[in-house]
């Protein structure tokens, strides 16, 4: 299976995603430059972390105009699995592929540390290999990860079971103390209506090997391999 890792100017998680896919997961990965107009026949797309276009104006605000985003849109519309990690999640929000916006972290400082997230739903291509309620320890590294959406939007997300990841304590409790950045309802990540586009602030690609602190994130990448292998996600559910 082939992953396309989109490289925006200012991406810095691109190498991490490539390494995780290629050398840990053992699947094929290609870098796709943001000015390119082809995803090179990839089966899944990763929008990596970083500071695309310097995050000037707003995080992800300029990246959504990159030529490759037309292809990413088309790929997503066709049911292809798209994962936005950190800055990639912010790009998905700006591009309108996912609802809501990011505010500065509650403490207005950049924050890098391991957090625990709880898997809320397993019917996305990136969580199909998880157990519902499973806890994953993964790092966050962001200054703007305070997820916000209007109350009716959040209500809609909850009703349609689109909140996929929530910050939780090590024991699995979703509490204000477990919320590192002030995100509404402890939301760490969500999926599109069609469930094939997933965005999250924590970095699964930086949690694929115990040597670097955690291997809990690997299951998200394994999930999409399984999902694509079964052809299950080619059509939206």
């Amino acid at each position: 299976m082939k992953f396309a890792v989109v490289v925006f100017p200012g991406s810095n998680g691109d190498h991490d995603a490539y390494h995780a896919v290629r050398h840990v997961l053992g699947q094929d990965a290609v870098f796709v430059w943001h000015k390119d107009t082809s995803l090179q026949g990839a089966d899944a797309v990763i929008l990596p972390g970083g500071f695309a276009h310097g995050d000037y104006l707003r995080t992800g605000a300029i990246a959504r105009f990159s030529p490759i985003m037309r292809e990413v849109n088309r790929f997503a519309e066709g049911g292809g699995p798209v994962l936005g990690i950190c800055n990639g999640f912010q790009v998905l929000l700006e591009a309108g592929l996912l609802p809501g916006a990011m505010l500065r972290n509650r403490n207005v400082r950049f924050q890098c540390e391991h957090v625990v997230v709880k898997i809320e739903h397993t019917d996305t291509p990136f969580t199909v290999g998880c157990r519902q309620g499973q806890l994953l320890r993964m790092p966050i590294a962001h200054g703007d990860g305070n997820y916000y959406a209007e109350p009716d939007v959040v209500e809609g997300l909850e009703k349609s079971r689109r909140v996929i990841f929530r910050y939780a304590t090590a024991a699995g409790a979703v509490t204000p103390e477990a919320n590192p950045n002030g995100s509404v309802d402890n939301i760490a990540g969500l999926c599109s209506e069609t469930r094939n586009v997933v965005g999250l602030m924590p970095h699964p690609e930086r949690a694929c090997e115990l040597a670097v602190g955690s291997a809990d994130g690997l299951v998200l990448l394994e999930s999409v391999v399984k999902s694509v292998g079964q052809g299950a996600c080619a059509t939206a559910r």
């Binding site: 100017p9 200012g10 810095n12 998680g13 190498h15 991490d16 390494h19 995780a20 050398h23 430059w33 000015k35 972390g49 970083g50 500071f51 276009h53 310097g54 995050d55 000037y56 400082r109 950049f110 924050q111 890098c112 540390e113 790092p139 590294a141 200054g143 970095h203 690609e205 930086r206 694929c208 090997e209 040597a211 670097v212 602190g213």
Partner: protein, 746 residues
């Protein structure tokens, strides 16, 4: 042109130096030339006061691929790879504008590393501030940390470690020293050379503005109450531009179309032009009207002296120009051809074809003035070295001392700081900040590198030579604790005004100490940086040499951290405690004193200890290792427990401290050198004993890991007994409390 004293003073040039300029040129200089000489002959660029001493440092060794003189040093790390690294200061700008000063310090050192063709993979920093109770210091501290985070995080290079210390002398003159390390194939190191007549000289990166003009001169002068007016001399960083430059330059370097490349740091276009020419034995001719400019109406003088950030100068092989331009275009960067390499050994600056400066490059670099400045032992020293414990009265209760030390910002957890640094990007970080030396793996190999920056300026103040040796020993010991064999070092020497004989004496003694220690421990110095004139209103900082050491770990899987790993493991002290309070955290925190003589250091015993550590860790015998430094054995034992949930039970020998009442205090808080606390599986104690005996390292089994309390007895008498969680809270919350609540500010 008849030059006035005022003009000379503004350029930081003496009348004698001006005469030398006339001799070098054979005529009076133009205004642009005065500017060029002033920055190139500034202390910051020319090292005119320090060079005679720096020459005494050991800079060669079997692993050294590049010693001092290039943009950074390089050592062979096996597998056909080289580690390229250097440390640099950005002290003066960080006082004037903390965020941008620190940010551009990070940007500058990163450019030095990728200029060598290396991909930067790790940053560390060594910071000094005044006491956090001062509002101005808190502003500087928060600004510097945010600036380092803002730049390093954006560009995607992890900050994997560092150190921070506090002293009143840094209140008006904080220190920001940044270390960067990159990896390159050993045979693909690129140098800052201009050669090959007719080869094109390219400028790429940010446009040139009026920012930072005379930054190098500013960094070569003391501060006074008017320093805030120098704010325009601090540059503004753009990490996004630097990220583009980094990626584009590394891509260009792969094509082998480059002759040489250098970043424009201090003294900007001036420095890069003449240094590249000088190294290549060539001349360089540029036309400033071709330089991309951000502002209208800049003079050649301003363009040559601007220190705008994120700019590079490249010499491209003839016929390869289009290829190079194409790569920069891909990254939306415009490479502007501004001149060419010549054969006449001159730096010729034109403005729309008219020559505005023409200077032999040699006269700006190797021909810069060299001073053997007068030295004298400082008057304070004889008195400050006297320490009478008896005069301090009865020692306070041990638990009180223990708690105050744990909450002292110099010892307390720095999590508030490193949590703001992305320390995991690039997925190489095996040991996180706060867990010992920073360790990064080298992907594609089994190896890893351990990195540490250290320096205790109180020790240097009380004995510059021994203090500097202790800095080398500590940095190397920290690396060895992770299992790294020290293979190279870089130094950042922060001192006061070298025109004062007592400062020059401190400097010379410290350099001598570094040299001696590096020779004894077999660690070559491959480069570094000198920052002088660190004074405010005539008061110098504590002399602060900072040493960065790189250690090679053969098997990344064997690396260990500072923390205990298993219930039931034995706690072992390697090395011996003496009654040594000189320059200690104990004296500073409990009595407000910086007095006495620093701990003795036997370099042979230190080397033996480090060899033992590297062997013990790589054999899997040592399960955790933590250097015993500020706060002594009691604090070290506590830190071995913190972040683990484990407690420990220890009984340590009493020490004769001269004054009998202080025996217990000495056992707990003395800062004797060459000590490490390790933990081992009880079944392997015989092996460790044998190794230690062979190495001649004293070994004492002092306790056992277990429970949730920290119990420390001295010669059988219990003195500390409390839940680890309580001690840990004091240690964890101390720094954040200065920022999170008004209570602490009052």
């Amino acid at each position: 042109m008849s030059v006035t004293d005022q003009v000379l003073q503004r350029h930081g040039l003496t009348r004698e130096e001006y005469q030398r300029i006339i001799e070098a040129l054979g005529r009076e200089p133009t205004t642009t030339e005065v500017g060029i000489f002033s920055v190139m002959w500034s202390e910051h660029c020319s090292y005119k006061s320090s060079r005679v001493h720096l020459k005494t440092l050991p800079t060669t060794g079997k692993r050294v691929l590049q010693g001092p003189g290039e943009n950074a040093g390089a050592v062979d790390i096996g597998d056909g790879l080289a580690a390229v690294f250097k440390i640099e200061s950005h002290n003066h700008p960080s006082f004037i504008e903390p965020y941008q000063g620190a940010a551009t310090g990070v940007g500058g050192i990163i450019r030095d590393i990728f200029t060598m063709g290396a991909r930067p993979i790790a940053l560390l920093n060594s910071l000094r501030f005044g006491p956090l109770r001062e509002p101005l210091v808190r502003r500087t501290f928060a600004g510097v940390v945010a600036g380092i985070a803002g730049y390093g995080n954006s560009i995607g290079i992890p900050t994997v470690g560092g150190e921070i210390a506090f002293d009143e002398s840094y209140t008006g003159n904080p220190l920001v020293n940044v270390f960067c390390l990159g990896i390159v194939k050993a045979d693909e190191i690129i140098k800052g050379i201009a050669s090959g007549a007719g080869n094109a000289v390219y400028y790429v990166g940010a446009k040139t503005g009026r920012d930072g003009i005379h930054g190098a001169t500013m960094a070569s002068a003391e501060f006074d109450e008017k320093s805030a007016e120098k704010r325009p001399a601090v540059q503004v960083g753009d990490p996004f531009m630097e990220k583009l430059l980094l990626e584009a330059c590394l891509e260009v370097m792969k094509t082998e179309a480059l002759v040489g490349i250098q970043d424009m740091g201090a003294a900007g276009l001036t420095c890069s032009t003449c240094e590249m020419g000088s190294r290549g034995g060539a001349g360089v001719e540029i036309d400033v009207s071709l330089v991309p400019q951000r502002e209208m109406g800049m003079t050649p003088y301003e363009i040559m002296l601007s220190e705008s950030q994120e700019r590079m100068l490249l010499v491209v092989k003839k016929g390869r120009e289009e290829e190079v331009e194409g790569i920069f275009e891909k990254w939306d960067l415009h490479a502007a051809r501004i001149g060419q390499v010549t054969t006449d050994g001159r730096m010729r600056v034109k403005n729309q074809g008219a020559v505005v400066a023409e200077i032999p490059t040699e006269s700006l670099t190797d021909g810069a003035p060299l001073y053997r400045r007068p030295m004298a032992e400082p008057a304070y020293l004889a008195e400050a070295r006297q320490l009478s414990l008896a005069s301090l009265g009865s020692p306070p209760p041990a638990p009180e001392v223990f708690h105050r030390l744990l909450a002292s910002p110099g010892i307390a957890s720095k999590r508030w700081v490193y949590r703001q640094y992305d320390h995991m990007v690039r997925t190489n970080t095996l040991v996180f900040p706060g867990m010992g030396a920073g360790v990064v793996r080298i992907k594609g190999t089994r190896r890893a590198l351990a990195l540490s920056v250290d320096g205790n300026s109180r020790f240097v103040y009380l004995d510059p030579c021994v203090g500097a040796q202790l800095a080398v020993a500590e940095a190397a010991r920290n690396v060895a604790c992770a299992g790294g064999q020290p293979i190279g070092a870089t130094n950042c020497l922060n001192f006061g005004n070298p025109e004062r004989p007592e400062i020059m004496w401190q400097f010379a003694r410290a350099v001598a100490g570094i040299g001696e220690a590096c020779r004894a421990l077999d660690i070559p110095i491959t480069g570094g940086n000198v920052s002088l004139y660190n004074e405010t209103d005539g008061k110098a900082i504590l002399p602060t040499p900072v040493i960065g050491v790189v250690g090679l770990i053969e098997d990344a899987a064997s690396v260990v951290r500072r923390v205990f790993r298993s219930e039931g493991d034995l706690v072992v002290l390697l090395g011996e405690t003496q009654g040594e309070f000189g320059g200690s955290e104990y004296l500073k925190v409990m009595h407000g004193l910086v007095r006495g003589v620093p701990p003795r250091l036997d370099l042979e015993r230190e080397a033996a200890l480090q060899r033992l550590l590297v062997r013990g860790v790589s054999d899997g015998l040592v399960r955790s290792a933590h250097d015993c430094a500020e706060g002594g054995l009691a604090v070290t034992l506590a830190e071995c427990c913190f972040n683990t949930g484990f407690g420990a039970d220890a009984d340590i020998p009493a020490i004769d401290a001269g004054a009998s009442e202080f025996g217990e205090m000495a056992a707990l808080f003395s800062e004797s050198a060459s000590r490490v606390v390790v933990s081992i599986d009880p079944s392997r104690v015989g092996e460790l004993r044998a190794f230690a005996a062979e190495a001649g390292v004293p070994l004492a089994i002092i306790g056992r890991v277990g429970g949730h309390r920290l119990r420390v007895a001295v010669a059988g008498r219990g003195v500390i007994d409390e839940p680890v969680a309580d001690a840990e809270r004091l240690w964890s919350d101390a720094i954040g409390s200065y920022f999170e609540s008004q209570r602490a500010i009052a």
